[in-house]
């Protein structure tokens, strides 16, 4: 019974590490091929910088800055109105 347990453990290690390496090797290969295909045939027209920025939509500097700008402008406007009244 104990012998069987140890055997099971060895089997599990062997199959487990085997699968991990097989899977990640396949993933490396597919990624390399995918990257080659994408960069060759589907290259993005945008400058990479912008592509990068658009990925994290929340941190897109363009969008955020325009919001910030409006915040400032509104505030200044409000401030002036207060002064006048």
């Amino acid at each position: 019974m104990n012998g069987t347990l140890l055997q099971q453990g060895f089997d599990l290690m062997l199959f487990g590490m085997g699968t991990v390496f097989v899977f990640l090797t396949l993933l490396v290969c597919s990624v390399v091929i995918m990257s080659a295909v994408v960069t060759r045939f589907f290259a993005e027209l945008e400058v990479p910088q912008k592509g990068l920025a658009m990925t994290n939509s929340k941190e897109s500097p363009v969008a955020v800055d325009s919001v910030k700008l409006r915040v400032i402008q509104d505030a200044i406007h409000q401030h002036r109105k207060k002064k006048q009244s």
Partner: protein, 435 residues
Amino acid sequence: MNGFQYLWFDSGLYQIQIGQVAMLLVCLLLLFLAIKRGFEPLLLVPIGFGGLLANIPGAGLAISAVDAALTSGDIALVSQLAGIADLSAWTNTDEIYKALNSASAEANIQAKLIATGAGYSSGMLYDFYTVTIASGAAPLIIFMGVGAMTDFGPLLANPRTLFLGAAAQFGIFATLLGAVGLTTLGIMEFSIADAAAIGIIGGADGPTAIYVASKLAPDLLGAIAVAAYSYMALVPMIQPPIMRALTTEAERKIVMTQLRVVGKREKITFPLLMLILVALVLPSAAPLLGMFCFGNLMRECGVVARLSDTAQNGLINITTIFLGLSVGSKLAADKFLDPKTLGILLLGIVAFAIGTAAGILMAKMMNLVSRHKINPLIGSAGVSAVPMAARVSNKIGLEANPQNFLLMHAMGPNVAGVIGSAVAAGVMISIVSNM
């Protein structure tokens, strides 16, 4: 007076057991580590507090209705429940409980009906556990959120680092073997399922560990989760000595070429590619990696920003609160105070050490065959523990060469380690549940 007597018998002071006192102290220690020492507080604060709640004497927050009926029911009720498990009414209630646990699904439903019929109900934490962890949902939802927070850019820029993430999973399987070995030597009593669940601590990934433990060894879940998160917090102490011992000063100084910029389309394609590969090669890893890829696709596709945002914030926070409390429910004294817990804590740290070493050695091996040299310090990041392990690589690298910033390079193996341990989890669940 009858009423005050009743309140005294009902009070914690009257009912408390030494094990519960010990566990209350352990949980306070966990909270101290989380709050003052910054040990993965997002998980360990809810887990520690859940542990406190689970050990309140007499409150029964972490037990099922049947358990409550066995604990505080009268002899007629207990004998009725014993009858379902074909036991005599005079059997110890613990044994009745165990017998019912291994009885048929029908017997369990009948027992539950009897217990609820007699006015007993399951505790709050037990319900939380059923909904979040027993269903498998919470770890998967957190994994989706982690996917939505993960940037695969560094990995795509240097896909070779996936091998480092693969190698570091050796910690999982070596630990599994250790657990099996301890049993063979008669020191511990782990089944193969227990051993697999303990091994996954070496994956250094919280939701994966909880998911696997809930499937293979629910009774050990508390200890496994505590070990996984504690050691993840201890990575800045566990890894550096191993990293220094296994690398030469020259190796630590290796400067890696700057990573190329990865385009949006590659980032969108990657999660889909990985999912297809999962579908073709390893369906048993589909729940974990599927949700991970889904989260990442939401992040990268750019057209569902509000869903991605919710997955990264509101949803993952809500899930974390209840997942943490539920894990805490497994810190009840009768489950946690067991020699097995000591074994788990010991094996867990071994798992981290072996994983770290395997990652570094893999990097050195790759340097033997490859022209583009890899700084072996980033190999240790393959154990996951995102982003702590990558920061450790960076820090040790800066010690050797103050101009050598390894952080982005280490993020590749770091996220590869997450994939690697999810794959290992899939294999183990699939094989063990068919053994």
